[in-house]
């Protein structure tokens, strides 16, 4: 595997029980890029994400992360792979019984042996990075949805992962918060060099951040298109891809 490949999905077949969602799916995510998985609702974007982060085992095929096989790993080796990335879930998925600071410290407690004072400083740095300075002692139920997402992002970055996954980052956000999150994503990519994988169908967000997208297809259970979003918008020949990137009705023939 070439050095610049960070994630590689190899011949992935996924599904629940007898229902197959993806078949023979293969793609690669390169180091340092912003990679976006798009597709119409129900095409299995979130399912693919759950496979990439190891929450679900594929029916066949493998997911390789930074040169290690996530699918076949277990125990301590798996934990080591999981530590390499952070995930921002759709609603933040903060632990409701812990404050924002404790949500982040939980990771530091588990994976580092730093003194308490250092952990506190790191926590404050992470929260400041997402504009949540001063909210250390708030509980997740006391802050707004957009703040929860940002706090979830701070937690995802707690261990300085080289890879970040985002599940529908702009879902449920107002346009301003959504744009702020886009800017933050770009910032993380350019300043920290983080590789970013996003699952979304929010066009504005896709055009703002994506360097490369793959579009999943519900019917063929595979990849419908791959490329830069602007290219797909202007030059796609497949009617579904064209309609998706131009926000048009599918029946409107050119």
């Amino acid at each position: 595997m070439p050095d610049d490949v960070l994630i590689s999905a190899r011949d992935l077949t996924t599904g629940y029980g007898e229902q197959i969602i993806h078949e023979h799916l293969s793609f690669e995510v390169r180091r340092g890029e912003i990679f976006v998985v798009v597709g119409v609702s129900g095409c299995g974007k979130s399912t693919l994400l759950r496979h990439l982060i190891g929450l679900q085992q594929p029916l066949a095929g493998e997911v390789w992360l930074d040169g290690e096989n996530l699918t076949a790993s277990s125990g301590a080796a798996r934990t080591r792979i999981l530590r390499k990335f952070g995930v921002l879930f759709q609603s933040g998925a903060l632990f409701g019984s812990l404050t924002l600071a404790e949500n982040i410290e939980l990771l530091l407690d588990e994976y580092t042996r730093l003194p308490q004072a250092t952990k506190e400083v790191i926590t404050r740095i992470k929260l400041a990075l997402v504009n949540l300075s001063g909210y250390e002692n708030y509980l997740p139920s006391q802050i707004s949805g957009g703040m929860k997402k940002r706090a979830g992002l701070a937690r995802a970055m707690a261990l300085d992962p080289l890879l970040l996954f985002f599940d529908e980052p702009s879902a449920g956000l107002d346009p301003i918060s959504s744009a702020e999150l886009d800017r933050l994503i770009l910032q993380l990519n350019t300043s920290l060099g983080a590789t970013i994988v996003i699952v979304t169908h929010e066009l504005a967000s896709i055009f703002a951040v994506a360097q490369r997208v793959i579009m999943l297809d519900k019917d063929s259970k595979g990849i419908l298109a791959e490329g830069r979003p602007a290219d797909l918008r202007d030059h796609a020949t497949n009617p579904v891809v064209h309609a998706f990137f131009n926000r048009e009705l599918l029946s409107a023939a050119p």
Partner: protein, 374 residues
């Protein structure tokens, strides 16, 4: 507006025409439906035209009446045409696909056709459930082993929190229930034993029953109802809000982070609760003995002291600890099985209590038989 519509039939060379006039709305849909059915049934065969030019207002209920005409015509293979609709009515009609509406909606889980298949499905479900239980026990034992080897890995604050919830908060209800059970046992025993003049043995009855059987069972059931349900609901809600997914994606073992503090708290709290339960039960018996059996406090407690052996108390303790682990463990397991939304949380919380009590009763029977042979 009871009957704001009327239906008239006319016949010409092109076929039959039904003219609908007035209003078709929620308020008069029921009589309208009956009238339409009667009209269509009485028609001669051939093409049907429905003239809507006199229809002033039509809502979704009215549209349902028109759909009924469509369905009736479809069933009798008669061609149907709507004509003359005003702009408003036409707007509504243009958004309806009547043929699609006439088809039955698809069922996600079609009911199984016969009893044998249903029994088979239930059997498979039971097998899957048992398998899940065994996997859960395996995971839990692994997590327990890890905790025993690395005692620092347990989050002490969580453990203390759950000790408070499972143990301290349960003290009042444990005392009340077991006190009344002690009173009941003493009354029951007294009415029988008095016939033989064996009043004093009420103390033996209450003491042994509370320490060995009733105390552990009642306290176990209280834990299943209070804490098993709470654990299932808590973990289930975390499952719904993706918090469990987040834990797993962070490389944390949900068994170790969610299940162990709760099960350990139940395990530690239970012997203390059982001591309190047994003591209050015996005190309840003492009050009855003094009031109705003319026993002195000293005689009663002396008799309890002589009747109870350390082994009897140990038996109760062993049972109690097992019950606590079962009730708390099955509560956590049900919580982790939650899929979907609020309805699922409710279902698995119920299941946590039912399975908890079931397991406690089974385990109690097994222990009682086992201890007979020790």
């Amino acid at each position: 507006m009871a009957q704001d519509f009327d239906i008239t039939q006319t016949h010409d060379h092109r076929g039959t025409c039904l003219a609908v006039r007035g209003v078709l709305a929620v308020e008069n849909a029921t009589p309208a439906l009956a009238a339409v059915r009667a009209a269509v049934a009485s028609l001669p065969a051939g093409a049907l035209t429905v003239d809507l030019s006199g229809l002033r207002y039509c809502d979704a209920a009215g549209a349902a009446v028109l759909c009924e005409v469509n369905r009736a015509c479809h069933d009798t293979q008669r061609s149907l045409r709507f004509t003359g609709a005003t702009a408003k009515v036409q707007g509504l009609l243009s958004m309806l696909n009547m043929d699609l509406l006439a088809r039955p909606a698809c069922l996600l889980h079609p009911p199984l056709p016969n009893v044998i298949l249903r029994l088979g499905a239930a059997g498979l479900q039971f097998a899957a459930d048992t398998r899940a239980l065994l996997f859960f026990v395996e995971d839990a034992l692994m997590a327990l082993g890890y905790i025993l080897l690395h005692p620092r890995a347990i989050r002490r604050r969580e453990l203390l929190l759950y000790l408070d919830r499972v143990g301290v908060d349960a003290v009042p209800i444990t005392m009340l229930v077991n006190f009344l059970l002690g009173v009941t046992l003493a009354f029951l025993g007294a009415s029988q034993l008095r016939q033989f003049g064996a009043n004093l043995y009420v103390a033996d009855l209450v003491g042994i029953a509370m320490a060995q059987e009733i105390g552990p069972i009642m306290t176990g059931i209280l834990i299943a109802g209070r804490s098993g349900a709470a654990f299932a609901a808590e973990i289930g809600t975390m499952k719904v809000s993706e918090e469990v997914d987040a834990l797993e994606a962070m490389g944390f073992d949900p068994q170790r982070f969610l299940v162990m503090p709760k099960v350990l708290a139940a395990l530690i709290a239970m012997p203390c609760l059982l001591l309190i339960a047994t003591a209050t039960g015996i005190i309840g018996g003492a009050l009855v003995s003094m009031a109705f059996l003319d026993l002195t406090v000293f005689a009663y407690f002396n008799q309890v002291y002589n009747a109870l052996t350390l082994w009897m108390i140990m038996q109760g303790m062993i049972k109690a600890v097992a019950f606590a682990v079962l009730a708390a463990g099955v509560g956590c397991m049900r919580g982790l099985q939650v899929r979907g939304g609020a309805e699922s949380v409710g279902r698995y919380t119920t299941s946590a209590v039912v399975s908890g009590i079931f397991l406690i009763i089974i385990a109690n029977a097994l222990f009682t038989i086992l201890f007979q042979y020790l």
